[in-house]
C-alpha cells in the first residue's frame, strides 16, 4: 500500500525536527504506543497496540532512521510483528521551511502487511492508516505548540495526548467520512458507523476491564 501526504506544523523547522527525533514525544503522540526506546542514535524499538477493523493486537518492532539530513529529511524504515501479522514500511519524510514560522511535512511511503492484518484487516487498512497518520500528526502538532509555548513563557504547558478510545472514535469518523462521499450510502453508513462505534467502545471497555 502506498501512502503519501503532507501536514503543516505551526512552528519552525528546527523545532519540528527535534520533536520527531524525540521518542517520548512520538510515543505520546501515537495512541496505542506502549513503549518506544532509543537503541542507538538512529534505531528505536517499541511496542504498539494497533486496531484495524476487527483485528487488534500488540506489535513489537524496530524503527530505523537513515539518509538523515537534519533538519530537512530522513528515511524511516519500520518493521513490526505480532500475533496478528506483520507490518513493514519504508517512508521518506521531508520538512520544508515555509518561511512564516510554519513547516510543511511531506511524506510518502510504501507499507507491506501480512498475516491476519492483511487477510482480515485489509478492507479498513487504507482508511485506518491514513486516519492514524493524520491524528498522529495533529497530535504531534499539539505537542509542538505546547513546547513552543513553554519555551516562550517559561511555563510548562500541559499537553494531553488523545486516549486510545478517542482515537478509535476518530478512526470510525474518518471511515464514515470516506464512505459518505457516495451519497446513496448515507443511511447505511450512519448505521454502520454507529454500530462500529458501539463495537469498538465495547471492545475497548472489555480490554480495559481485563
Amino acid at each position: 500500500m502506498k501512502l503519501e501526504g503532507e501536514h503543516i506544523f505551526h512552528g519552525p523547522r528546527q523545532a519540528v525536527w527535534e520533536l520527531i527525533r524525540d521518542p517520548d514525544a512520538l510515543a505520546k503522540a501515537l495512541p496505542g504506543t506502549e513503549t518506544l526506546t532509543r537503541l542507538s542514535e538512529n534505531e528505536y524499538e517499541g511496542t504498539m497496540h494497533v486496531r484495524i477493523g476487527p483485528i487488534a493486537g500488540a506489535f513489537s518492532g524496530q524503527v530505523t532512521i537513515s539518509d538523515e539530513i537534519p533538519p530537512e529529511s530522513c528515511t524511516l524504515t519500520a518493521e513490526g510483528k505480532g500475533a496478528q501479522g506483520f507490518v513493514k514500511g519504508v517512508g521518506r519524510l521531508q520538512l520544508i521551511d515555509e518561511g512564516d514560522d510554519t513547516t510543511l511535512m511531506k511524506y510518502d511511503g510504501d507499507i507491506q502487511i501480512g498475516g491476519k492484518l492483511a487477510s482480515v484487516g485489509q478492507r479498513s487498512l487504507d482508511t485506518v492508516s491514513k486516519s492514524m497518520i493524520r491524528q498522529g500528526l495533529e497530535s504531534l502538532n499539539g505537542a509542538l505548540q505546547a513546547r513552543l509555548s513553554a519555551a516562550t513563557t517559561g511555563e510548562e504547558v500541559a499537553y494531553v495526548p488523545p486516549t486510545e478510545a478517542r482515537f478509535a472514535a476518530a478512526v470510525v469518523k474518518d471511515m464514515a467520512g470516506e464512505l459518505l462521499s457516495s451519497p446513496q450510502a448515507i443511511w447505511a453508513v450512519a448505521a454502520i458507523g454507529a454500530a462500529l462505534a458501539l463495537l469498538i467502545g465495547y471492545l475497548l471497555g472489555r480490554r480495559g476491564r481485563r
Binding site: 500475533a83 501479522g85 506483520f86 507491506q112 501480512g114 498475516g115 491476519k116 482480515v120 485489509q122 478492507r123
Partner: protein
C-alpha cells in the same frame, strides 16, 4: 428391466437425519481423553526459516506437545504424488514438488504450517502460538505468473533453477496450416482468476490410536477415504488393515477434500501414535482460506481461425497455469482445461500448450469444475468474438460448428484426464442447444423483448453458451449388497458422500433390482471397514461408477434370491417376481417367501451345505468404465445491468442438460442448482485477492463474497437423455454441470447488455467495481 424407482423424483432418505441434527459430522466425534491440535501458520508467503523455538510453548499449562518439522525426524518427507503425470503425452515436463508435512527450511505460501500444538483444548493450543518464537527471513514473493518465468525471478525451489513446474503441448491436425487458409483469425488474452471451494464444513479430522488393539481409527472430511487409509498406513508403517478411515456426513466436498496426506493429516496421525491419545483438529474459516487448496488462475492467449461463413478451421490456446506452492495433484486441472476447450464443437485443428508455474500462493487442485470452466470460458469467448466479427448470431455460429449426433463416438485426438485418448461417447448437442433456446425464448427475446426494454432505458442482455463435461472416469468402484434377515438390504461402497444424495439414488438402484422400497435399503459410504476397495468421489463419477458397481452387485443378489427361492418354492426362476420384499410366483401371488426368511435360509446355522455354497444373499461387484462419459449442456441467461451501480441481476437462468439416464431428477436438479450457485459466485462475487507479496487480502467471509440465496435466479432445467454406451445404466455425471458454463454465459450476457458501450470482457470473475472500471475506463 423395468424400473419402479430409478428415474423417480424421490425425496432423500438422508434428509430427516440431516435436518433434525441426527447426522454425524467429524466435529460431533467425542472421545474421552481427546486432545486438540492447532497449527501455527506462517504470515509470510515466502521466507527462509532460520529457526523455530517452541520450548516456551511446551511449558504452557495444558499444552501436551509442540512439534515442528525438526521434531519429525525421518517422518518428515515430501508427501506422495496423488495423481501421476500423464507421461503418455510426448515431451511432457513435470517437476515434482509435493506438499511437505510442515515447512522445514522454507515457507512457500502464507498459511503454511510451521508448528503443531497439541493441547487439552483448542483455546490453549491457539494461545500457545504466542509462545513460539519463529525466526524467518522474508524473501521476495513470486506471485505474477509471467514474471515468475522471467529471468531474475525469485525461485520457490532454488535447486530447480526455475519456477516452471510443468510444460505440456498437445496437437490435433495442423493449426498453422489451418490458420494460413482462414478468412478470419482472431486473438485475445483471457484471464480467469482464483476462487475458493468454500464448503460449508471446513476440513476436520479425529485421529485415534488404540495401543491395545493396535488400531487407528480416523474420522475425516474426506472425498477419498480409501486412498487416505492406504497413504496413512504407508506413511506410518502400519498395515492397511490396522487403519480404519470413516468419512461420515461431510458438509460439502467440491474438490479440495480429495487431497490426502495433507500437513494436518500427517501431523495428527504421527502425534496420535506418539501420544496414544485421540486428537481432533477442525479447520476454522480463516485456515480454510489459507490452507485448503484452491483453483482457477490461468492466463490464456487464444487464437481462432475461421472461414467467412463461420466454420472453425482451428484453435490455438497457449496458457499459463498457477499451481501454487506445490504440485501434489499433478496436472489434472490444466489437463481438464485442455480437454474442455474444444467443447461440443468440431475443431479439426487444435494447438494447445501450457506452462505450469510455482507461485507463493496456496496450492491449486481441482475445485468443482476442475479446469473445465476455464476451457469453456476461453472457447465461448472466442466464439462470441467470432460471431461479432462475422456479424453472425451467437447461436447460429455455435449450431454451425456442433458435433452431430451421428458422429459418436467422437475421438478428439488429444489425451484426456484418464490419460487415454479423449473420446466423446454420446450426446445430441444440436438438440441441447435448441432446447435451451426454446426454454429461454431466445428468438422472441432478441426480436421483441430486448428492443422494447432497451427503448425503455434498461440494460438487458442475453447469453447462451454450450459446454461439455468430462465425467465418470475410472479406474473403478465397487460395492457389496447384502439382504439382512430383517428383509432390509445393506449396501456398502467405498466412495464418500458430501451431500450428493447417495443414500437415496444408490438405494433406488438396489430397490429396483432386489424388489424392496428405497427406504428399506441402508447405504453405507466412505467407511473403509465396511468396504475397502475404491478410488473416491471426484470428477462427477460417484453416481455412474459406484452406481453401476452397486447395480451389478444388486443384480448378483437378485440372481441368488431367485435361485434359492426357485428351489424352495419349486418354481422355475423365470416364473418368479420380487415385489415389496416378497419373492412370489407371478401367477399365484399368495405362494411366496419374504426376503428376510430367504436370507435366513441362505445362512444355515447347523447342518451341511453343498460344496461351493456362498452363505447369505450377498454379492460384491466392481465396475470400471473403458473411459469417462461426456455429459453436455447449454446454458442461457437474461441479465439486467444497473447503469449506475453496475450491479447485475440475473433475471432468468435456464440449463438444458444431458447426463444420460437420470437416477433421480430431484437430486440431479439439486446438483445443478448447487453448481449454478458456485458458477454465479465465480462470475460476479468470488475472487481470492492476493497482493504482490502473496498475502490473501480477503481471507474471510466478510470480504470474500459468496452468492446468497437472494442472488440466485429462478432456474429452469431441461433434461435430455442420451444414455451413455459406456455403462449398463447409461448414466453420465452431473456434479459440476452448473459451475462449468456459468461464468462464460454471464460474461456474454453482460457484454450483450452493455452492447453499444464498446465493452469487451475477457476475464472472470467480475465484480460491480471491475465492471465499472471496464465501462468507464
Amino acid at each position: 428391466m423395468p424400473t419402479k424407482y430409478v428415474g423417480q423424483r424421490i425425496k432423500r432418505n438422508e434428509d430427516p437425519r440431516l435436518l433434525t441434527g441426527q447426522a454425524l459430522f467429524v466435529d460431533d466425534v467425542q472421545i474421552p481423553g481427546m486432545l486438540h491440535a492447532g497449527f501455527l501458520r506462517s504470515d509470510y508467503a515466502h521466507a527462509r526459516i532460520r529457526g523455530i523455538d517452541a520450548s516456551k510453548a511446551r511449558q504452557r499449562p495444558g499444552v501436551i506437545a509442540v512439534y515442528t518439522a525438526a521434531d519429525l525426524g525421518d517422518f518428515w518427507k515430501p508427501g506422495p504424488l496423488l495423481v501421476p503425470a500423464p507421461h503418455s503425452i510426448p515431451d511432457l515436463i513435470f517437476n515434482q514438488r509435493t506438499q511437505v508435512p510442515m515447512a522445514r527450511d522454507k515457507v512457500r505460501h502464507a498459511g503454511e504450517a510451521l508448528a503443531c500444538v497439541i493441547a487439552e483444548s483448542r483455546y490453549i493450543a491457539e494461545d500457545a502460538y504466542a509462545d513460539i518464537e519463529v525466526d524467518l527471513e522474508p524473501l521476495e514473493a513470486v506471485t505474477d505468473l509471467e514474471a515468475a518465468l522471467g529471468p531474475g525471478s525469485p525461485l520457490l525451489y532454488e535447486e530447480l533453477g526455475t519456477n516452471l513446474a510443468s510444460y505440456v503441448k498437445q496437437e490435433k491436425g495442423n493449426y498453422a496450416a489451418a490458420r494460413a487458409q482462414a478468412d478470419v483469425v482472431l486473438k485475445r488474452r483471457i484471464v480467469v482468476d482464483r476462487g475458493a471451494a468454500a464448503a460449508l464444513e471446513n476440513r476436520g479430522y479425529v485421529f485415534s490410536w488404540n495401543p491395545k488393539t493396535q488400531e487407528m481409527i480416523v474420522w475425516a472430511t474426506s472425498q477419498a477415504p480409501i486412498a487416505l487409509r492406504n497413504v496413512m498406513a504407508g506413511l506410518l508403517g502400519l498395515s492397511e488393515s490396522q487403519v480404519r478411515v470413516i468419512a461420515p456426513f461431510v458438509g460439502g466436498g467440491f474438490g479440495p477434500k480429495i487431497m490426502v496426506a495433507q500437513p494436518e493429516e500427517q501431523l495428527l496421525a504421527w502425534s496420535t501414535l506418539r501420544l496414544g491419545r485421540p486428537i481432533k483438529w477442525i479447520e476454522d474459516r480463516q485456515e480454510n482460506f489459507l490452507a485448503t487448496t484452491q483453483e482457477r488462475m490461468q492466463i490464456h492467449d487464444a487464437e481462432i481461425a475461421l472461414t467467412r461463413d463461420g466454420r472453425i478451421l482451428g484453435l490455438q490456446d497457449v496458457f499459463i497455469h498457477d499451481t501454487g506452492a506445490y504440485n501434489s495433484y499433478a496436472l489434472t486441472v490444466p489437463l481438464n482445461t485442455q480437454t474442455h476447450t474444444m467443447g461440443p464443437y468440431e475443431i479439426p485443428n487444435f494447438h494447445t500448450e501450457y506452462r505450469v508455474v510455482f507461485t507463493n500462493k496456496m496450492i491449486v487442485t481441482p475445485v468443482r469444475g476442475a479446469g473445465r470452466p476455464q476451457g469453456v470460458f476461453v472457447m465461448e469467448r472466442m466464439m462470441d468474438l467470432a460471431a461479432k466479427e462475422l456479424g453472425m448470431d451467437v447461436t447460429a455460429i455455435r449450431a454451425k460448428n456442433l458435433i452431430q449426433p451421428d458422429q459418436f463416438p467422437y475421438p478428439q485426438g488429444i489425451i484426456g484426464q484418464d490419460f487415454t485418448e479423449l473420446i466423446y461417447d454420446s450426446g445430441d448437442y444440436p438438440a441441447t442447444l435448441e432446447k435451451a433456446k426454446a426454454l429461454i425464448g431466445y428468438d422472441q427475446f432478441i426480436r421483441e423483448e430486448q428492443p422494447r426494454l432497451r427503448a425503455a432505458g434498461k440494460l438487458v442482455g442475453i447469453g447462451i453458451v454450450c459446454f461439455t463435461e468430462g465425467t465418470a472416469v475410472g479406474p473403478y468402484e465397487g460395492a457389496r449388497v447384502t439382504v439382512e434377515s430383517s428383509g432390509r438390504v445393506n449396501v456398502a461402497t467405498g466412495v464418500g458422500t458430501q451431500g450428493q444424495g447417495h443414500f437415496t439414488s444408490f438405494a433406488q438402484i438396489v430397490a429396483d433390482q432386489v424388489g424392496v422400497k428405497p427406504t428399506d435399503v441402508i447405504v453405507t459410504t466412505g467407511d473403509t471397514e465396511k468396504f475397502h476397495w475404491g478410488t473416491g468421489t471426484f470428477a462427477s463419477r460417484g453416481a455412474t461408477v459406484a452406481g453401476n458397481a452397486i447395480n451389478a452387485a444388486a443384480a448378483g443378489v437378485r440372481a441368488k434370491i431367485l435361485k434359492l427361492a426357485s428351489k424352495l418354492l419349486e418354481t422355475p426362476e423365470q416364473e418368479l417376481e420380487i415385489v415389496d420384499g416378497m419373492v412370489r410366483v407371478a401367477d399365484i401371488p399368495e405362494k411366496g417367501i419374504s426376503l428376510g426368511e430367504l436370507a435366513i435360509k441362505a445362512n444355515p446355522m447347523r447342518g451341511s451345505v453343498e460344496p461351493g455354497t456362498e452363505p447369505g444373499l450377498e454379492s460384491t461387484q466392481y465396475f470400471g468404465p473403458k473411459y469417462g462419459a461426456t455429459a453436455a449442456g447449454t446454458v442461457a441467461m437474461i441479465v439486467e445491468v444497473d447503469p449506475d451501480t453496475l450491479l447485475v441481476e440475473i433475471k432468468k437462468y435456464i440449463i438444458a442438460h444431458d447426463c444420460g439416464t437420470v437416477l433421480n431428477p430431484l437430486i440431479v436438479d439439486g446438483q445443478i442448482h448447487g453448481g449454478v450457485s458456485m458458477g454465479i459466485g465465480q462470475s460476479f462475487y468470488e475472487k481470492l485477492a492476493y497482493d504482490t507479496n502473496g498475502q490473501l487480502l480477503n481471507a474471510n467471509l466478510g470480504d470474500y463474497l459468496l452468492p446468497r440465496a437472494t442472488d440466485m435466479p429462478p432456474i429452469e432445467i431441461g433434461h435430455l437423455n442420451t444414455p451413455s454406451p459406456l455403462n449398463p445404466m447409461g448414466t453420465k455425471g452431473v456434479g459440476e454441470a452448473g459451475a462449468i458454463p456459468t461464468p462464460a454465459c454471464f460474461v456474454q450476457a453482460v457484454e450483450n447488455a452493455l452492447a453499444g458501450l464498446g465493452v469487451e470482457i475477457m476475464e472472470a470473475p467480475l465484480s460491480p467495481r471491475r465492471l465499472f472500471e471496464l465501462v468507464h475506463g
